[in-house]
């Protein structure tokens, strides 16, 4: 098999006496969706923060396309190709949808220190942002204030911004959270196609979506990996059923 796009090896994180993540290794290959599931408090969000750089790791390392990014700050990791969406929308709510998306285009272009020319009149950046908004179906709302969007639209905007970064890998923290059944179905179809652009590390509670999408699944419990395998095998794993899936 090829080298993984993203590889985290033996990550550890403790908060005081609480072991949040213990020796977790995970890798994501081209064209795949790798889902991370586990009960609340299993360490999923901590793991994501360690991979994205908002939390430092006590031990272990993270590699992106073979490059060691363990000690890089969040923004450098983002620039190198980690496109993250947040569990709780982190958006500039007072700005328009387009402004939020174009921020991603600017960030990815590396032209951060331009002080004079209006960013919205830059047709290259604007086209990129509009193109990504069109992909997620927000094209008609580009001039609305972000605060006026519905919850589902905010989730889509998060994805659109991640798209503008042209990342090497997507890291998505519960993109379906709070979506209705229609929204979940739409987003599931969208992510299914998205894996061709870049592989996805998906943390998700919606099991239907996870089993519909994931090529591989890693199950966390109490900060440890209790199983990691192809989606079809995970369903049958007795330990997983006990810890998480109940009777399935």
């Amino acid at each position: 098999m090829n080298n993984p796009v993203l590889e985290a090896s033996k990550l550890c994180k403790t908060f005081g006496s609480l072991v949040a993540v213990q020796d977790v290794s995970i890798d994501i290959h081209k064209d795949e969706i790798h889902a991370v599931i586990g009960p609340n408090g299993a360490g999923k969000s901590t793991l994501i923060s360690q991979i994205c750089g908002s939390l430092s790791s006590d031990k272990g390392s993270v590699f992106l396309l073979g490059k060691d990014i363990t000690n890089l700050p969040t923004e450098k990791r983002a620039f190198l190709g980690i496109g993250r969406t947040f569990q709780i929308s982190a958006l500039a709510k007072e700005d328009t949808v387009l402004e939020n998306a174009i921020l991603g285009s600017v960030g990815a272009s590396g032209k951060h220190w331009r002080f004079f020319n209006p960013v919205l009149k830059n047709s290259i950046l604007r086209d990129e942002a509009e193109c990504c908004l069109e992909l997620v179906g927000l094209k008609d709302l580009i001039n609305l204030k972000t605060a006026t969007l519905s919850h589902g639209q905010l989730r889509l905007l998060e994805v659109a911004i991640a798209l503008t970064l042209k990342p090497k890998v997507f890291i998505m923290d519960e993109p379906m959270a709070g979506l209705g059944s229609d929204g979940t179905k739409q987003l599931t179809e969208f992510l299914d196609k998205l894996r061709e652009r870049a592989p996805i590390l998906l943390v998700e509670h919606d099991m239907d979506a996870v089993f519909a999408l994931a090529n591989r699944i890693t199950v966390l419990d109490y900060g440890r990996v209790i199983a990691s395998d192809k989606a079809s095998s995970i369903k049958k794993d007795p330990e997983v059923q006990k810890a998480y899936l109940g009777e399935g």
Binding site: C52, S54, P73, T74, E75, K76, A78, F79, R84, F86, A90, L91, A92, K93, E94, D95, T96, E99, N100, I102, L103, G104, V106, G107, A108, G110, K111, H112, W113, R114, F115, F116, N117, P118, V119, L120, N122, L125, N143, L144, K145, T148, I161, T164, L165
Partner: protein
């Protein structure tokens, strides 16, 4: 309800035509009052970049204002008294030339802002407010004890500094200089807040996570904004000292830092013309009500209270409709 752009044009008109009418009617005092308002407006436009767009409340911008004043005062004092400023390793003389003073002021203020910013931007919220205040107070007490340049008494400059081709002692000509500088600052600020940098700074106030997730260095953004902000406020300090032909430690006082914040709140936080409107209203209120009662700050207090309670966006927020769909 009116459009914000129309209000801005109206304010610009006031700025330009009130002094011209005063000139025709031979009221130099009105011109001086407008000059004062314009200089305060420049200071507050500078602060607004940090406070309004960046969202970090500096309660120590008088540090830059006072520094600008002292840069002007020291250079002009050496020049008028024919004392060299530095003799070794290179000979540096004082100067009475405004453009040179401005350039040195901007450089010095930017340097001071870089130092203060690097330390204080590690904190947020109340701690940031306090640490910036502490820096300004340090400058204040340093200036009161620096007897070589007047200590508590400050420095008097007999004649206003020179600007090529103009008689700067003529109120209308000095007003024109200050007004043109304000317009230039407003023009660049208007471009800045729409530029990639401005967009990112504005977003960084609303979500640090977002700005880092798209690859921006949060601290560099804030520090750059703080340096630009300090440099602009510093420049206004040099103009203020020139207006009064006098600089004293009171230019470093925390009351002044507070007044800059008040200008912004009156006019509208984060609005391009907010500080301009705030400074105009403040200076005129100070003049009109201050003439009636020594306790004019009480009335200012009521006005502030009303604005904070009823109009979060300041005067601009009260008068202009929220444009949900801007271009």
């Amino acid at each position: 309800m009116i459009k914000e752009r129309h209000l801005n044009i109206f304010v610009l008109g006031l700025l330009i035509f009130v002094p011209i009418f005063a000139y025709w009617n031979d009221q130099p005092f009105t011109i001086t009052l407008m000059t004062r308002a314009v200089i305060f407006a420049i200071a507050a436009v500078g602060l607004n970049l940090a406070l309004g767009t960046g969202g970090f409340i500096s309660f120590g911008h008088a540090a830059f204002f006072g520094l600008g004043g002292y840069v002007m005062g020291i250079l002009a004092w050496h020049s008028q008294n024919y004392v060299t400023l530095v003799e070794w390793p290179i000979l540096i003389e004082g100067t009475k030339s405004m453009p040179i003073i401005w350039i040195i002021t901007i450089a010095a203020s930017a340097l001071l802002a870089a130092i203060i910013g690097m330390i204080s931007l590690k904190t947020t919220g109340v701690y940031f407010i306090m640490i910036t205040l502490a820096f300004a107070q340090m400058m204040y007490y340093f200036s009161t004890s620096w007897s070589a340049y007047g200590g508590e008494d400050g420095l008097s400059i007999y004649v206003r500094n020179n600007f090529p081709g103009l008689n700067t002692l003529d109120p209308i000509q000095f007003f024109s200089i200050c007004c043109v500088i304000l317009l230039i600052v407003l023009f660049f600020m208007g471009r800045l807040i729409k530029s990639p940098f401005g967009l990112a700074l504005n977003a960084s106030r609303q979500s640090r996570q977002r700005i880092e997730a798209v690859g921006f260095d949060f601290h560099k953004l804030q520090l750059t904004a703080f340096i630009l902000s300090g440099a602009i406020t510093g420049l206004s300090g040099a103009l203020f000292a020139d207006l009064n032909r006098f600089v004293s430690p009171s230019m470093f006082s925390w009351q002044l830092s507070g007044e800059f914040i008040v200008f912004i709140i009156i006019g509208g936080v984060g609005r391009l013309f907010g500080p301009v409107i705030g400074a105009l209203i403040f200076v005129w209120l100070e003049h009109l009500i201050g003439g009636v009662s020594d306790y004019w700050h009480i009335f200012l207090g009521f006005i502030l209270l009303a604005i904070v309670l009823f109009g979060k966006g300041g005067i601009i927020g009260l008068l202009c409709q929220e444009d949900a769909q801007h271009e």
